[in-house]
Symmetry: C2
Subunit: 204 residues, 2 copies
DNA sequence: ATCTCAGAGTTAACAACGTTAACTTACAGA
DNA sequence: TCTGTAAGTTAACGTTGTTAACTCTGAGAT
């Protein structure tokens, strides 16, 4: 009875190898430039083996993507989150952008590539959980009277969208391809600050 | 001497046909799903003909992209721009997002696809001109004391980044693939408003 | 001990793609 | 009439994702 278990473990090992090799290659090259043959070469298996573990290339990358969302969630919560919700928002924003700039090709696939039409998001998805961190912080800040009233979902979405925009630009363009060439290296920081400021209630 | 002129005109006509067919196809299918053969079929030429007019697929799409930036600039300035710089910013924001949602695949290539490493931006580029519209409005608003002090380039970039973020999300995800499912259909509006609000000086 | 069969892996091939080499054709200028 | 240029075509190449058909290993049944 332990035999099928061992079999499954061995199969899982190969799957792991594929995912790790693929992650490494994608991180350096991006989706289009990585071929199934290259992934197979990297782990010294034949290309068809991959198809025993994944439906097709997109399925493989989606599996990678799923793991990356888990890593993002881990990064967001790493080192413990501050009590103060505003500080928490700022810290999560920094972690988010750091993750994006460290793995631009993964960010690209996670947030810049259209999903399959039948792809849906469940509540226990690490992506959804990350968003909930943001949403909760917004709610708490509202409760403390630090953020404007209004649907917290909208506030969270707007903050995320703003941060995402700055991130997406930096992940897509080189500094000298920007309009207004000396692109603020702290564009993300500024954008994040401004998005928060827009929702803050005036002090005094 | 008028002969070479006519020749050039004819060549330009074919180039036009290619661009128009390609634009139509790309608008519906997006970059990867449009093949050179499909473009050639659409205009009833052989695939190789395209290579007499464009270096390769990327060159063709870049030409399209260049035209699209001109269209975007036209859209931004259509109907005349308001005197009031804040209103102008709001109106340009609406035009920008409308353009994006109308031609998502073009937006994708214009703003979401990395450029060639050797691609540089000149000052008379329609893209740069569009950014200057934004920059000028920011400067004027600052001069009127409506926006915070600070480098107007940064303000313009942050506003653009925020708007771009909301746009990119809507162009990438379907409504039901969002975290927090009932995605604000006016996410763009809210994001644009909030980005402006963050830079506005408190009234009174 | 032999047979069977499932299932992981391989080889070889397919169709589609971007692209190119070699050829054809049309036609203005010497 | 000859020549050369340049646009267009046919046929092919190399690469890609993917699949069909096969091999091989080894556990369970007879």
């Amino acid at each position: 009875m332990g035999i099928t278990e061992r079999r499954e473990r061995e199969k899982e090992e190969v799957r792991r190898k594929i995912l790790d090799a693929a992650r490494e290659l994608f991180a350096h090259e991006g989706y289009d430039r990585v071929t199934m043959r290259a992934v197979a070469d990297a782990i010294e298996y034949s290309p068809t083996t991959i198809y025993n573990h994944f439906e097709d290339k997109e399925d493989l990358v989606e599996a990678l993507c799923h793991e990356d969302f888990a890593r993002l969630f881990a990064v967001l919560t790493a080192g413990g989150l501050p009590e103060d919700p505003i500080e928490r928002l700022a810290q999560m924003g920094r972690a988010y952008s750091q993750f994006a700039l460290q793995y631009p090709n993964h960010y690209r696939f996670m947030f810049l590539t259209p999903k399959h039409p039948d792809h849906e998001m469940s509540d226990d998805d690490p992506g959804a959980q990350s968003f909930r961190l943001l949403l909760d912080a917004c709610r708490e800040a509202q409760a403390l009277g630090r953020l404007r009233p209004g649907p917290p979902e909208t506030i969270a979405q707007v903050i995320w969208a703003s941060l995402h925009g700055a991130t997406a630009l930096l992940v897509t363009y080189r500094a000298d391809q920007f309009p207004c060439a000396p692109a603020a290296s702290d564009l993300i920081q500024q954008t994040c600050d401004n998005a928060l400021r827009g929702f803050m209630v005036e002090k005094g």
